[in-house]
């Protein structure tokens, strides 16, 4: 292990973090809206829409992300029609291609997570909301969606971590985030282990932080769990008194 490399190259690797967080953050943000839309269509009861979403999810979950990225970045350049259109300034940029691919990809995975959440909402609650005279939109906003999100949160936490790791694939289309920078430095220094340790530490720190934040949100969104903890604490206090 050549420790002198750590001081020399660690700052370079750190400089890749903003790109990584941008890619993950922006595509998670956009992908979330896409996912909610897909999940709603998937549970809408309208057959053609359900089939469309099924097909979409099937294709994006059944193929590697790398193919999706290459198809958008290299593939779209094959058509003169696209090259001459208003889309080209966007599709020409590796950055936006990566964002588009990551968004479409996480949209597919997340829609399944949210669908699970929506389907876990007891049907009786929906009937009760109907009986109270709530419109479909109000029902979704007040009854179904908040509970679906809470149910989906642990799964979504895993998806966030997967996305942070997936941003490394953006380095294959020239974007310099942490893995891309690590690769570049490895090919200059031939110190793969040292760079792996440094880049790995960055990823692990971020993954750990995200896990903690998701756990905290999950706690906040589960008042009944928090309530139970209070009761348990109180019981413990009582037990210690007696």
């Amino acid at each position: 292990m050549r420790f002198e490399l750590f001081g020399e190259y660690f700052p370079d690797l750190l400089s890749g973090i903003p790109m990584m967080l941008q890619l993950a953050g922006l595509s998670l943000f956009l992908g979330f809206f896409l996912a909610v839309l897909l999940a709603v269509l998937r549970t809408s009861g309208i057959r053609p829409l359900e089939w469309f979403v099924r097909g979409y999810v099937y294709v994006f979950r059944g193929t590697p992300l790398l193919v999706q990225i290459f198809l958008i970045y290299y593939g779209t350049g094959q058509f003169d029609l696209i090259k001459q259109s208003f889309l080209w300034p966007v599709l020409r940029e590796a950055y936006w291609c990566a964002i588009i691919a990551l968004t479409l990809n996480t949209g597919a995975y997340t829609s399944e997570i949210i669908r699970g959440g929506i389907e876990a909402v007891p049907w009786g609650q929906v009937e009760a909301a109907k009986a109270c005279g709530m419109s479909a939109w109000l029902r979704f906003r007040r009854v179904v969606f908040p509970q679906a999100i809470r149910q989906a949160l642990p799964g979504y936490g895993n998806e966030i971590i997967l996305m942070i790791k997936s941003t490394s694939l953006a380095s294959t289309i020239t974007l310099l985030e942490v893995t891309g920078i690590a690769r570049k430095i490895i090919s200059q220094t031939y110190a793969p282990l040292e760079l792996f340790v440094m880049a790995g530490a960055i990823y692990l720190t971020i993954v750990f932080t995200v896990t903690r934040i998701v756990d905290w949100i999950e706690n906040r969104l589960s008042p009944e769990l928090a309530g139970r903890r209070h009761v348990e604490d109180a019981e413990k206090d009582l037990a210690s008194v007696h």
């Binding site: 099937y58 294709v59 059944g62 193929t63 590697p64 992300l65 790398l66 193919v67 999706q68 290459f70 198809l71 290299y74 593939g75 779209t76 350049g77 094959q78 058509f79 971590i161 790791k165 997936s166 941003t167 490394s168 694939l169 380095s171 294959t172 893995t179 690590a182 690769r183 490895i186 090919s187 031939y190 793969p192 282990l193 760079l195 792996f196 880049a199 790995g200 990823y203 692990l204 993954v207 750990f208």
Partner: protein, 238 residues
């Protein structure tokens, strides 16, 4: 459309046979890596469930690191560091001083095996914990030795409980093989990029690559579905 067909034709004129050959390499690589992963996963699960703290820490460290860093980073580590490591081992253990170079397939299989091994560890660990403790106690009470208990009570049930989870790990490994194209193995992605490079028709070839992956994931999904049916043939359902 006819132009697309001729691009994907069989033989020297088209790239169809090259793409299919790539798909076969993908399948072979995924199979070897998955098998290696299951072997590593069994060891990892044993370590994580061990009563020896150092073994537990080792298992925990392995799964935490591998599941927390991008697969691409693990592949780069082995791609650039694999040869050095093997040469160091050869020098240390056998006193062999020559130059050793691992081929892309070996590096790819080891890298993907390491990655899928971490996920298999968790799956197998869960499956071991799913075997009711009472059965183990009953087996001991019948006087079974450790090995007999392992062979008759644990293995058949752990295999059954682990099957759905291992199916997911297989899908993951299959899709991860696309990353090995970066190391130079001519699997689906590499075939597609070679073909795009020489024909300037990337969309056609990356789309074909996507279709090939879909065929592989769909086909293997069916195989795992059948395997689950077979494994659960003796289980009574409510």
């Amino acid at each position: 459309m006819s132009e697309w067909m001729s691009l994907l034709a069989w033989g020297d004129a088209g790239w169809g046979d090259e793409m299919v050959r790539g798909a076969l390499w993908t399948l072979v690589l995924a199979t070897v890596a998955f098998a290696l992963g299951v072997a590593i996963g069994s060891l990892g699960a044993t370590a994580k469930l061990s009563s020896l703290p150092p073994a537990r820490w080792l298992g925990q460290g392995y799964t935490t690191v591998i599941r927390g860093v991008p697969d691409l980073l693990v592949i780069y580590l082995l791609f650039f560091g694999g040869n050095q490591a093997v040469m160091a081992i050869a020098r240390g253990l056998f006193g062999y001083d020559g130059y050793i170079e691992l081929n892309a397939f070996t590096i790819g299989a080891i890298a993907l095996g390491t990655v899928s091994g971490a996920y298999s560890t968790e799956v197998i660990r869960g499956a071991v914990l799913a075997v009711p403790r009472g059965q183990i106690e009953a087996a001991r009470a019948c006087g079974m030795s450790g090995w007999l208990l392992f062979r008759r009570i644990m293995v058949p049930q752990v295999a059954r409980y682990a099957l759905p989870g291992l199916g997911n790990v297989w899908q993951l490994t299959l899709k991860d093989t696309s990353l090995i194209s970066i190391v130079g193995l001519v699997e689906i992605m590499r075939s597609a990029s070679i073909a795009s490079g020489s024909t300037q028709k990337p969309f056609v070839f990356y789309l074909s690559a996507a279709v090939l992956y879909l065929c592989l994931t769909a086909g293997s999904n069916r195989v795992f579905g059948l395997a689950e049916l077979w494994a659960n043939r003796g289980v009574r359902r409510a």
